[in-house]
Structure formats: structure tokens, C-alpha cells
Symmetry: D2
Subunit: 417 residues, 4 copies
């Protein structure tokens, strides 16, 4: 008993140009671009928008691109894809692996871009089935948390009509064919912290004349493990990851300083503040223990907000996805520790829905060790892994999710929204 | 009651061109060159040798340079200076500070080169006071342990007559005016070890799906402290320094591997082997604890031999230095933990003497906190420190040490050697 | 609009002998007894049961005590209190503080016993208001996880009629006047693990001839922090606490072994197994790193099951508590990390309800730093703290919870159950 | 060409009652007594002194015992043995192993007592060969550093004539038949330090409401490794051993405090002070990192002085030992990290000689893995090991060392001293 939106979506995506989408996807995957340098990617996406009949503007908030299709009265719906890649050396062995050393689409943004291009085309082709205004948006620099804010600051909602609802989706590990929705908190806040430990350098053979920042940083990293293991209640969900440590140049020179870059994931401001306080205290204590000549520099940097779906909007989208893909395809993933800057596009409280599309190839999933979903989930390559390789067979489904989601928000022939 | 060698040395160095030596020194200090890239330095030194009348060959063992002065029958004496700088960002604030970002003469090799240039000139000018053959040698890449071996492999002792005795000196912290001799072990062996920890990368928000190499490397560095603190007897002199640690690129990406570069200082093969065994065991244990997908890679790399002065030779040089500089200027530093590749030039067991010239400016020394020599020694900038700034007033004395040392080994007018 | 059970409970507890209950409570608090040694406590409770007209048997499962009141047809309802104290040195400064050095009622079991004695008396006195069979049970050794199992093994349900429902309650931090119910998982599983690290002892001045188990145990404890911080997903609730570490006798003797006692809290078997596997792996790795002469002994010992309230039963009890204490007194605490052996009394799947009674004195609560409930919760003395001092003003309310809970399960005059 | 002292010593010890000495030794070994509780041991030794004709006083400085033999004009020579055992559980499997659980002669003091008893008897029997005054002294509580000071404070040198020279010897690992002398520093200073870490206790399932002192103490122990590995120059001999760590009672209770007992070995006051400063700094830093409610308590406790042999005295004793035992039996062990309170008996600067007698059974030594003396030395059970079992075949040699040493200091028939 499908809704008009679901039926229309199935119609509009019945004959998707899958080989062309695959070519587009593989080309994007071969040519990953780091945050705020997505020139080639943005140009390719803008071409698609224009070809599909959208008025398209590039260079918004750096390398951002927006297309608009005004199609009569009705709500303004924005579909968003992020475009940037990561400084990861690809290890997938795919024929279309990255050709840029040290840079890789290890988070699936190439898939997101392809999905959006496909949906923009399908919705334009079927514009007689709906009315309203469609905004399609390619966002730069999601990984660094800069892109959404940059587009807002570049007045995207003054240059285009402000949307009534935002939709976005993300590739995720899991057996293909599932769509994870959650009416409320779905992604965590993320905060970067940088620590510089100041020691006193010298010759490696005379540590007694130095204050060794390498050793100090190492003890600091081990001590930071207690923030989560001892200071945050088990019921509070929190992660502290030291993603980078760097000190010294030579085996036999004790350097003057060491640098640690860490990232926090939290679901409440109170826990975030508690963790930052603990980090400051631990860094101060470890540098005191080491006898550092001065206190460590601690910089609280980039941060991402919590992603909290509007319950009504998300339930509406989840319902149409359940109709499109069938019983048992919708699951509630619980609050995830991942983070997004997508909520920054919800300037002024625009309701939004953000969901996951599982994309681990069936062969990989079935071969993964483990008896249940969680064990297998932990065993397959996850986002940011150098072996992350989503299944291209999710290209058509990812277009359908966007098309049906958009239709559920726009005014349909039967006035569905 | 000075020996003829001491008297002659004082004569030959009575009117040293100190301002010119200072210009030469400051120019070298301004233009430091990393190991095996000492092109400018070697050319400048070769110019000096040639100007002083030496037949000079460059490009030996890479960027090495050798000058020869045949001056009648008698022994062949080799004077050696090392020429390379370090990847250290200078923080001295000197007017003649390094103009090459990230590279600095932080170990005094510029002083060594200047001393040798001055001595080569003085000995040539006074060639009627001695007979024998003088070899003056600018060695590349002491810091990396490559240079001496490279010159031997490049047949330096076939292209030039093999020397009967080798002399070398090094700038060291300490109040200026002291000459540290030791008839036996004066410098330790040095061994580089590289460790690569293999984890499993992934998203920083999902550590449970990864094996975190940053955390593993940090625990490993803390665990390595026990090699010296628990496994080596207090009477055995040994140092283990982790000079470099490096892992990851981004706050929120858990990388696939971490790299640690460490250096050992030892005074016996037995202790060296024991330390390497302990490092292998500890790295294996920590990677097992972490659940690493494979064993760590452990590479035993560059090494320097023990520097053991020939007792007779060293006592002879120490005696002449005592005569030249006066009572109370010679001290026994005990075995140092520093290392040299100079012994590699002693191919086949050529006797040698290697000594230190203290070079901390008096003002710096007097202002250093501490009540005794050892405390002050620990407080002043040591070799490899970004603030290492030896006193240019040691230029003339460092020429005198070489000239008197050489004369003590050559045949004098009175047949002193 | 109260139910008959609530009205009757308020009637039966209108004139509780509060001063006598306080005397009883203070006497119990002064005389704490460790697990399975609750001789004095059990005798005092049995006296109360007998005085209230219960047929009472002592010595069940060690020091357990059970009283029975057969009161016509209807369900059999069991009310349970645990009786044992802890090896903690009291620091409350209370006038009725423990007189037994090193032993303290630091978990409120003295309050539980008093509550049960009061409820047994009140329900007996009002036996004309209900029919059915009442079992009142004083359980030994909850803290060690032995007591409930020991009573079952001692055939308590053959010597007494098996109950249809079990009720139990626990004092908890929080401002007095709240009753925490949860229809489902309310307490976590608990597992004890013991690790013995085998080193090689010797003289403290010659660590090089030993394998130091003190240092090995210390690194092991720091490494174990990563089980929660890196290996368990943030959404999984888990705690690993090392409650005891012990090694050595003298400053200058390196001992042969070190002992670590740790406790896990988990909410699923999968996470529990994962943690035990990680502990084994980490202990093996650390002992390998140390060069231990043999593998560590790892013993998985005492465990407590998950406490999962029967939803229907718990909701019924929560409803009557809401009626007795008024609007806003019932809260859902979420799944707690604490553990209970109470579920072991639910032999064969008897439904049960287990709830918390907040008991932090208002003065203490108000003075606690923090802006919200969670911050204050973290700041006040918690169970097992040497300063844990529940408010005696909760004596009457804790009797009312049991009486109303029992009446909600028994057959009332109006046939309420 | 032996000296009169050597010849006389060989005469006097030609027919030692070895079986009786063995019985005495085995009895002592079976009945070890902890420091200041050596009642049985002191009584047995006093019996021997009296039987040999010495005026004997017990109870000096606690359980000390002194015998005197006035034998004409000449120097006063004191021979000293320490008497206490250690809190170690014996694991030797010897037929005469300790019958006192947890207490063991693991440092050979039973051998020292037997040697002294034998020498006292032999020198008394041969009193016609020497003149002077002989003091034989059984000292309590060497292990705790209390005994020598206690005897001095109890006026031993007012109750007996102050000696002109002191002699003492100690059993040590090494192949039997060697006598280790060193004219100068032979034993290091020893300093005990106690640290109490103050946390905040609580329930093991709620670490977030506590400050965990177990975890803090563990990180502290790992951090203390850097005192030796990073802060003390390799040429300075120093050891830091944490001999005891203790915290908590139960798996699931986070305790309020943790206690660490550590011992330092140093050879100069400067290094000792530097280490204590570093320990204070590190403990403060780690407790700050942990968020401890107050600073740690750090107590610098028991200490032993440096043992520095009088060069002339020691060379004289070494010479006579060389004559008695033959060429190749005397070695210089270098400065050892062990410590003694024996120098406290040298009140006012009395010259002394202190030496080692190697006592590892030949079978054990030969079977020990290792290619050289140092490797074997590290492999055999050392002092304080639960497997320390010196060879009873050293009983007669250890008597000879004392007898010949004493004779070398007394006035001989030929006026040898």
C-alpha cells in the first residue's frame, strides 16, 4: 500500500542510467580532492546539474556548488552531498583506485556526489510529477568541518531561497540494502584538540641535559586513555582518539617539542566540557611530571555540532524509504559516534533528515568473521579506512532514497506533502 | 719546560689571522649543509687547502675532501674535521645564524672545519720546522655515520698514503679553555633502531573497529624506558633515546601504522645485544597486547663503533696540549655517551687520538644555574640543541691543539717524534 | 485517585515506630559484618520476624534467614533484603559509625534490613487487609555474589513455598524522595577477574637480574585502560575497574609476583566475552614484553547476572509507589552499571521488581557542587565510599515502598491483585 | 712468599670443625628471624662466643651481641656479622629450608654468623699467636638499616673499647673461591621513599564519581622509570626500585588511597638529591593529572650510607687473602649497587675493610646459561631471591678470610701489624 511519493519515486528511477553513473563514480574515485580543493569534483557536479536543467552557481563558500529548479508553488527542498576526500593512501586495490598519492575517497563522498547527480537528473526529468522548488547542493570540506559554515557565511540562503527542509545521506558499513533512520540524535558532536608539549632538546646521548618531549607525549597519550575509561560514566557515550602524534627528526636528537592532535566525540555539552577539562588537567600534570620548561599549549579547534533529526521529518522519510525498499530495510542505528557539519546548513532551525545507506559488498560482508551483525560490522573496512570500498551496486538505491525523500517533502500531483 | 713540539706550535700560531678565521667560521655557520650534501662547505675547505699549498682532491666518498703536503721523510699524520650540519631549526639569535630554515650547525662541525683550515695553513707556513707527510681531511656525513666509511670505501688510503696516526677534535660544552683527553674508551657506540607498529586504521569515532597504532606506539615508548631502568645494570653505561615518533595525519583518522626511531649508546657489544633483544621482546609484547594484525618491523640500522684512543698516542698529545695551554687545562672526561664514526678511518688499527675542546662562552657558563661543574654542564646548551652556540674565541686555541698535536707526531727539527 | 493497595499501605504505615527503627538501624550500622559472617545481623532480623509473628528459620545458605506468614489464599510474595557489610574503613564521622575497624556498612544494607523488619511488622499487623503468603528473606553475602546462590542451593524454595513474585530495593545516591524504577534491564552484569603476574624476584639494587613484577603489573594496569577506551564501542556500556593491586613486602626486595583483582560491568554477554578476551591478550602481551618466566594466571571468578525487571510487575509496583509518594517521585534511572545477585533468587524465571530509593541527605545534596542532577550525583558520596551515609529520614519511606509493593502483589480485601 | 699473618691464619684454620659449623649453619637457616627479632640467633651466637672464652654481652641496640677477648697490648680489631633474615617465602627446596613461613635467610646472614662464630673460636684457640684486643659483634637489623645505628646509640663503644679497625664480609653470587676487594667505594647508598596517593574511593561500577588511586599509582610507577632512563646521566650509577605497591581490598571497590614503597641506590649525594627531587615532581604531576583531592604524601625514610673502604686497610686485607687463597682469587668488583649499614659502626671515621665472598655452588654456576661471567652472574639466584642458596662449602673459607684479616691487623708474634 505505497504512498504516492513512493510510487512516483519508483517510476522516476525505474530506468536509471546505471553504467553512466558508474563511470561518473569511478572517475570521482580516481580523482579525490582534499577539503576546499574540490575544484574538479565541483566542476563535474555543476556540469551534471546544468545538463539536468538546473540554474547552477559554483564557488559558493570556496568550492561549493548549488543548482536550483523552480517548479511551481510548494515547499523548497534541499538535497546535499559533501564532496571532499581524505589524506589516506588507498589500499583497496580497485581498478579505479585513487591516482593521487596519499589522497583517497575513504569516506564515500564520491558516492554521495554521484547519488546527488543521479537524483537531480531523475527529479528534473520527472518534474511534472511534483511542484515546489528543488535545491541541489555540493558542499566542500565536510571532513574539516569548514564547508557548511563557509557556504552559510557566503550567503547561500540569500543567493538562493531558504529551504523548508534539508535531506542528506551517508554511505556506511553494513550489508547492502539497509537504510538507517533515527528520529532524533543520530550523529555526535566532534571537537578537535591540539596539544604541544614543550621540552628542552639536546643530544640523544645526554637525556639528563634535556626534558624529553617524546617520552612526555607518549606518557600523555597513555594517560589520556583514562578520560574515557575512568572519568566518563559508562552510560555517557564518548570517544577520545589521538589521530596524530609527531615529534623529532632524527634517531639521536631529542627534539624541543612534540605535537598531539586528538578528536573527541560527545553527545552532550556537559560531557564535552568535562573531557576538555580533563585533557587540560592531564596535559598539565604530565608536563609537570616531566619538568617541562613551560606549560603545554592546548588549542580547542574545529568542532562539529550534534546531528539531531527532526522527528516528524525523519519519520516521514523513513516511511517512504520503507515503502520503496520493502519490509525489513529500515533500522534504527542508535546514536552514532560519527559527526557531520551538515547541521550547520540548518541555519535558524530548518528541519532536516539525515540517514545512512549501508554499502559493504555482500561478498565482503559474508566473508567477514563474526556471528552477529556487530561482530561483522567491526570486521569490515569502515569509513576512513584505506580499504574502504563501498559497493557500486548501491548507486541506484542511493538515487532512489534521495528521489523518494524529496518527493515525500514536495507537493505531489495528489498533494502528497 | 716545554717540549720542542709545544714551543714550535706556539711559534707557528703566534700570529694567526683570527679575523679571517672568524669570517670563514661565520660564513660556514650561516650556510649549514646536511649530511652528504656538504658541497659548498667542502669547496670552501678545498680552496683553503689549495691556497695553503696542499695537493687537494674533492668528491672522495661523496663530498669528502683531502689535501696532502709531502714534506720530507717522517711519519704520515692525518688531521680530520667533519663537515655536516643537522636538521635543527636554529634558536641562537646569533647575527650569523643559519640562513637555511630547519638546518643548523648545532654540533660545532663548522668550528671543526675552521680549526682544520687554520691548522693546515699554519703547518704549511711553518713547514721548515718539521718533516713528514701531512694529510688534512674534511669528512662528510658524520652525523649519519656514513662519511668515514664512504671515504674508506672510496679508497682514500690508496689514493693517498695511509697515515701512521690520526688526530681529531670536537667542540663540547664546558667553560672554554679545557682540553679533555682520555687514554682509552672516550666515546660510546651508537646504534639506530627503527620500529614500525602495524595497526588497523579507521574512523576516529569507532576505535573498536581498529587496532590503534598511535596508542600502541605510546605504550611502547613508555615501556622502552624499562630497558635502561630495569634491564641494564647500573654499572653498565647505556642510553636509549626515542628521537622520533610519527603517526597519523588527521585528528579524526586512526592511521594504519606508527613509526618510532630510536638510538642506543653502549660501551660493550654484550650490552648492545642485550638492549636490542629487549627492544625486540618489548615491541613484540606491546603489539601482542594491542592485538596488532602483524608483528612490528624492527630494523637495526646505522651504527657507530666505540671510540678508543690509543693510550700512548693520546698521552703524547695530552702532554703537548698541557704544555701549550698550561697547568690545569687537561682533564679526563670519563667515557662519554656520545659517538663518532671517526674510528672507521682507523682502517686496520691505525692508532689515533680524539679529544674535546670546551667551547661554552664564559658569560653563558657563569650565568648557568648550579653549584658545580656537572650542574652547570647540564644547564648550558649542549650539542644538537637549537641554542648550541660555541664561543668563537676558541678559534685560535682549536688551531693550536691541532698544530701542536700534529707536531708531536711528526719529525721535528730536533727529531721530536 | 489511589488504588486500594496504595490506600491500605498508607493506612498500615501511618504510625510506624520510627524511633525504634532508628535504634535498630544505628545498632546494625555500628556492628557491620562481612559477607557470610552476618551472624549478629541475621539473629537480630530473625528476632524481629518472630516478634511479628513469622515462622522463622535461620542458617539457610550460611547465615540467611527466612520468615513466613501464611495468611489465606492468594499469591506468595517474597521481600528480600541483603545483610552484609564491606571491608571499608568508615570515614563518615557519624555518632553511630562502625565500631569494627576496617568494616563498614558502606552500601546501605543496614538500611535494607531495617526496611524489611519494619515492613514485615506492618504487614503482619495489618494482615486483615490482605490474603496470600508472605516470605521475608534476609540474604547473606550479596557483595561477594555468593548469598543468593547459596540460599537456592540450600533448598530455600523446597523448605518454603516457591514465591510468585520477588521484590527488593536498594539505597542509592540522589536527593531523598525519589524511587527509581525501570521495566527491563536495571542493573548490569558483574564479573571478577584475578591476574597473577609471575616475575623473578631479587635484590632491589640489581633489577637486571630479575623480572620486575611490580613494574609489569603497573604497565598492565595502564594498558588495561584501553579495553574500555579503544576496544568497546561508545554505545556499549562497560566498566573495567582494578579494585586491588598488591605486590612486594619491602622497599628493597623485588618480589616474585604481583596480583591484580579487577571487576567488569557489562550489559551483554558479547561485550563481556570481548573484554575477557582483551584482558587475556593484554596480560599475555605485557608479560611477554617484561620477559616473565611464565604466562600470567588469569582467573575469571565471581560473577553477577544482569538484573532485568519483569516489565509488568515493575510497572505495577512503580504505579503504586507513584500513588503513595505523589507526582514526580518516580524516575527511570536508565540501565545502571551496578550489579546484584538478587536475580539468582528468581530461580526458574520468577518475575521480579527491583528499585532504588534515593537517600542522600538534603543538606548534603544541596551543598554538593554542580548545576544539574548528574553533576551533583557525581559529587556526593556514593555506595562503597567510606563517606557513604544515607539519610535515616528514609527509614519510614523505605518501609512504605515494601508494604505498598507487597500489597500490590497480594490479594487485597477488594481483590486488588 | 706468604706473610706471617697468612701463615698463621692457615695454621689456625687447618683443622676447622666443619661438620659442627654446618650443623650450626643449617640450624640458623631453618630458623630465620626478621630484623630486630633475632632473639634465637643472637642467643646462639652469644653461646659460641662464651664457649670460646669471650666476655659476652647481649641485648645491645636491641638484639645485638658483642664478645671481647683482651689479649695483651696491640690494636683493637672488630669483626662484624649481621644476623637478620628477610620476609621472603623460601623456594630453594633445601632439606634445611626455613621452617618459618614467609621468612628466609635470603641474604646469607646465617652464613655470616657462622663464619664469625668459627673465626671467634679459631682466633681464641690461637691466641698465643697474636696480641691485641678482639671484638666480635653480631649486629641486628641490617636489612632495615637500623641495627648498626642502634648499637652505636646504645653506647657499644663506651661499653667496649673503641676499635682501631673494622672488618666485615658478605656472601655474594659468583663461582665459589673468589674474594672481591675494592680500596674505596664498594657499596652504594640506599634510601627508602614512601608515597601515598590520595584518591577518592567509591563503587567499582562508577569510576566517574571517584579519583582512582590504583590507576594513578600504576601510571606513577611507569613514570618513575624515567628517573633513571632520562634524568640521570649514564655515567652516574643509580637504581630506583619500587619494591612494594598496595591498594584496595576488593575487586569492585575503588579504594581511597594507594601506597608505593621504593628504594634508591646512589653513589653521590648530588644524584640522590636529584632523584628525590624528580620523584617528588613526578608524584605531584601524576596526582595533578589524576585530579587527586590532595597532594601525595612523600616520605624519605630509611637510608644507608655509602660504603667506602679505607684504601690502606683494604689493600692490606686483600693482600693477605691473596696469600691465603692463592693467585687469581682476588678481584675488584667495581662499585656495587648494594648497600650496608656497616659504615655506621665506623663512628668517627674508624678505617674499615668490607669484602665479598662468592658463594654460588659450582654446579649451579656451571649450569647457568651465559658465555661470560656477567651473563652467568645475572642468571644465578642473587641475594634476596627466594632461591638464594649459598654453597655450604664456603664455610671454612669464610672463616679463613676473617681469621687472616684479623691477624693482618693485630700485633703478631713477629709484630706483623
Amino acid at each position: 500500500m505505497n504512498s504516492p511519493a513512493a510510487r512516483t519515486a519508483l517510476d522516476l528511477t525505474a530506468d536509471l542510467p546505471v553504467p553512466a553513473l558508474e563511470d561518473f563514480y569511478q572517475d570521482l574515485h580516481r580523482h579525490p580532492e582534499l577539503s576546499m580543493r574540490e575544484h574538479r569534483t565541483a566542476a563535474a557536479l555543476a556540469d551534471r546539474f546544468r545538463a539536468a536543467g538546473y540554474d547552477t552557481v559554483t564557488g559558493i563558500g570556496g568550492t561549493g556548488v548549488v543548482g536550483i529548479l523552480r517548479n511551481g508553488p510548494g515547499p523548497t527542498v534541499l538535497l546535499r552531498a559533501d564532496m571532499d576526500a581524505l589524506p589516506v593512501q588507498e589500499e583497496t586495490g580497485l581498478p579505479y583506485a585513487s591516482r593521487t598519492p596519499g589522497v583517497m575517497h575513504a569516506c564515500g563522498h564520491d558516492l554521495h556526489v554521484t547519488w546527488l547527480a543521479g537524483a537531480a537528473q531523475a527529479l528534473s526529468a520527472g518534474r511534472d510529477t511534483w511542484s515546489g522548488t528543488l535545491l541541489v547542493l555540493g558542499q566542500p570540506a565536510e571532513e574539516t568541518g569548514e564547508g557548511a559554515a563557509a557556504m552559510i557565511e557566503d550567503h547561500v540562503y540569500e543567493r538562493f531561497p531558504p529551504p523548508d527542509v534539508l535531506l542528506a545521506q551517508h554511505a556506511a558499513p553494513g550489508p547492502t540494502g539497509l537504510y538507517a533512520h533515527r528520529p532524533g540524535l543520530i550523529m555526535s558532536a566532534s571537537t578537535d584538540v591540539d596539544i604541544v608539549v614543550h621540552g628542552r632538546g639536546g643530544h640523544g646521548s645526554r637525556p639528563e641535559s634535556t626534558v624529553d618531549p617524546v617520552v612526555t607525549a607518549a606518557y600523555l597519550v597513555t594517560r589520556l586513555q583514562t578520560v574515557v575509561s575512568r572519568e566518563i560514566a559508562a552510560r555517557e557515550q564518548a570517544v577520545l582518539t589521538v589521530g596524530r602524534i609527531e615529534a623529532g627528526t632524527r634517531h639521536n636528537i631529542i627534539p624541543s617539542e612534540a605535537r598531539i592532535a586528538l578528536n573527541l566525540r560527545t553527545q552532550s555539552d556537559e560531557v564535552r566540557e568535562r573531557m576538555i577539562t580533563a585533557i587540560r588537567r592531564i596535559a598539565a600534570g604530565e608536563c609537570l611530571a616531566a619538568g617541562c620548561p613551560r606549560e603545554p599549549d592546548i588549542t580547542v579547534g574545529n568542532s562539529f555540532p550534534v546531528t539531531v533529526n527532526d522527528p516528524d521529518t525523519d519519520r516521514r522519510i523513513a516511511t517512504v524509504h520503507g515503502e520503496v525498499f520493502g519490509t525489513g530495510t529500515i533500522l534504527d542505528p542508535g546514536p552514532a559516534m560519527g559527526s557531520e557539519d551538515f547541521p550547520r546548513l540548518a541555519e535558524g532551525g530548518i528541519p532536516y533528515s539525515y540517514w545512512f545507506v549501508t554499502s559493504t559488498p555482500a561478498e565482503v560482508w559474508d566473508a567477514a568473521p563474526g556471528d552477529d551483525l556487530m561482530e561483522k560490522f567491526a570486521a569490515v573496512p569502515s569509513n576512513h579506512s584505506p580499504r574502504f570500498a563501498p559497493d557500486p551496486r548501491t548507486l541506484a538505491p542511493g538515487v532512489r532514497t534521495l528521489v523518494s525523500g524529496a518527493l515525500a517533502c514536495l507537493t505531489g500531483p495528489e498533494g502528497s506533502a
